[in-house]
Subunit: 360 residues, 2 copies
Amino acid sequence: MAGIPIKFGILGCADIARKVSRAITLSPYSTLYAVGSRSVEKASNFAKDNGFPASAKVYGSYDALLDDPDVDAVYVPLPTSLHIKWAVLAAQKKKHLLLEKPVALNVKEFDVILEACESSGVQFMDATMWMHHPRTAKMREFLNDPQRFGQFKSVHSVFTFTADPDFLENDIRVKPDLDALGALGDVGWYTIRAILWSVDFELPKSVIALPGPVFNKAGVVLSCGASLYWEDGKVATLHCSFLSNMTMNVTAIGTKGSLHLCDFVIPFEEEKASFSTSVESGFTDLVTGWAPKPSEHVVTTDLPQEAQMVKEFSRLVGLIKAEGAKPETKWPTFSRKTQLVLDAVKTSIDRGFESVEVIS
Amino acid sequence: MAGIPIKFGILGCADIARKVSRAITLSPYSTLYAVGSRSVEKASNFAKDNGFPASAKVYGSYDALLDDPDVDAVYVPLPTSLHIKWAVLAAQKKKHLLLEKPVALNVKEFDVILEACESSGVQFMDATMWMHHPRTAKMREFLNDPQRFGQFKSVHSVFTFTADPDFLENDIRVKPDLDALGALGDVGWYTIRAILWSVDFELPKSVIALPGPVFNKAGVVLSCGASLYWEDGKVATLHCSFLSNMTMNVTAIGTKGSLHLCDFVIPFEEEKASFSTSVESGFTDLVTGWAPKPSEHVVTTDLPQEAQMVKEFSRLVGLIKAEGAKPETKWPTFSRKTQLVLDAVKTSIDRGFESVEVIS
């Protein structure tokens, strides 16, 4: 394919950038081209430690990286509060944009980022990696099959992990000036994404946060829950927390079938992942067991999900570069809907658990 | 053990009584002694079809069965609205009482039943079978272990099944004059029990039903959800429905560990059942997989859970009969707490999803 490999610049040396750097190396259509940090030494060490080629550019500022005309695309793992500044600037400099989640502090900010991307004709994608695992496509087939899943009724998602004392004190995700959305923006993002994905991104009409969220002293959410309501009666619940042991569940239930998995964000293993389905479940005659029992589906992958993400992003960028294709709009649409619902949960918390209408 | 086998009378020929009749046969301390129905023919057929010995008594009324002085204990699978009449009469006739769930239409009615049991010194137990599976005891050990589970944070339970059109038209569980609590009293009972069980039966301080319950034309709940709140910050969610495919999950999360199972009410298989735990879960260095991964625990059982229930009930009755022991109070306490929370969910629905205090 012409226009590839896509030359990536990494904006900042966050931990997660190590994983994505490896993914850029693994992906067939992309190459590690540059890294920028506020310190050139840090950038240099990062490049050395993460398999950058000797020819890679090392910049001591984000601006310098964005000024490099050979950078095709940037991966931006900066704190959420910095997204609007750097994502907009990257788009203005015609860099295609792979942006960490949450994509912004709120949808108003995100719309500014999207406008910049549209003006420049660059591809936008958020870095929700599990969307790109081949397992996700297999699960989509199940949910879309009226014979197996039937009419959608409800979906329930939980994502929690126990943050250690250092995280709770120092991580950007508990700092009101960096990632003000806290656990809701981090683990909560994934539960909202899973819910929206499961209903094919139909927005709920309203959202109610559940009472009892936990905040840190600075007012950042460490744990919360919410329920979501659709016009046709579909319902969803989510629970997200930095304060309880790792749990990563999605349960989607239709009139005919159920889908369940316990590792939706990070599969237990890199090379293969599974999910469980049951279809028209019933019991044995005396209700002493299930008939039929649920089925386990194993999906193997030649590339880890983050490399699948980079591959798809690079493919889209390659089409734009080589053939003048338009950016794929579904990815920014998914991001925006996720942010919209996230905003509604936050608003409901702020308003004492009132029902908040979701208006696109 | 003296005083056994316990002679059981079955009050009514509900479908579920077939399963419990088999359990009485399987259990070492009990025997099928009598069955009573509103029609002697129906009772007779039931006895013939369900392995009753030739000597078994067949009665054409519930009264007649209760008047038989040789009946030690009764199993009562009658519609919930009839519990107060027949459970009280059974207790007054000194019959030990194994009562189907929900135990009553509300806790006020249930207290009348309990008073009758206490006056007569008979054992009360509700027929929540999974409580007696050896898996349940193994899961209890995990939840009680501060090294593995830590401090309790949240629990989430779902129990749904798709009722067929005949059920939705004719089953007692959708009839306001028979089982007015509908899906909440049936599948919802189990989710509430699982939540209370998981927190060692500490009552929540408040309950909020989630908006969007579905009712049938007669006003009986076919689907609903709720959230529960404890003084120390623990939270729980439940979802129960007659309108979506069978799903039977419990996820309990502590600061150190998580517990998960997908068949908590009826294990997939009769002879063995499993659950999954994870302890101090983390990721591989690059967050490409879990380390450690969750563990699967398989628990085999020589007797199905319903026979374990009959065995434990009969053991307690045997102790009362042979040694003048006092009835075991934990079982009616578990029932009462479950009913209390169920009542609070119902009240919250009736009051437009207000927060309802749970007062014991």
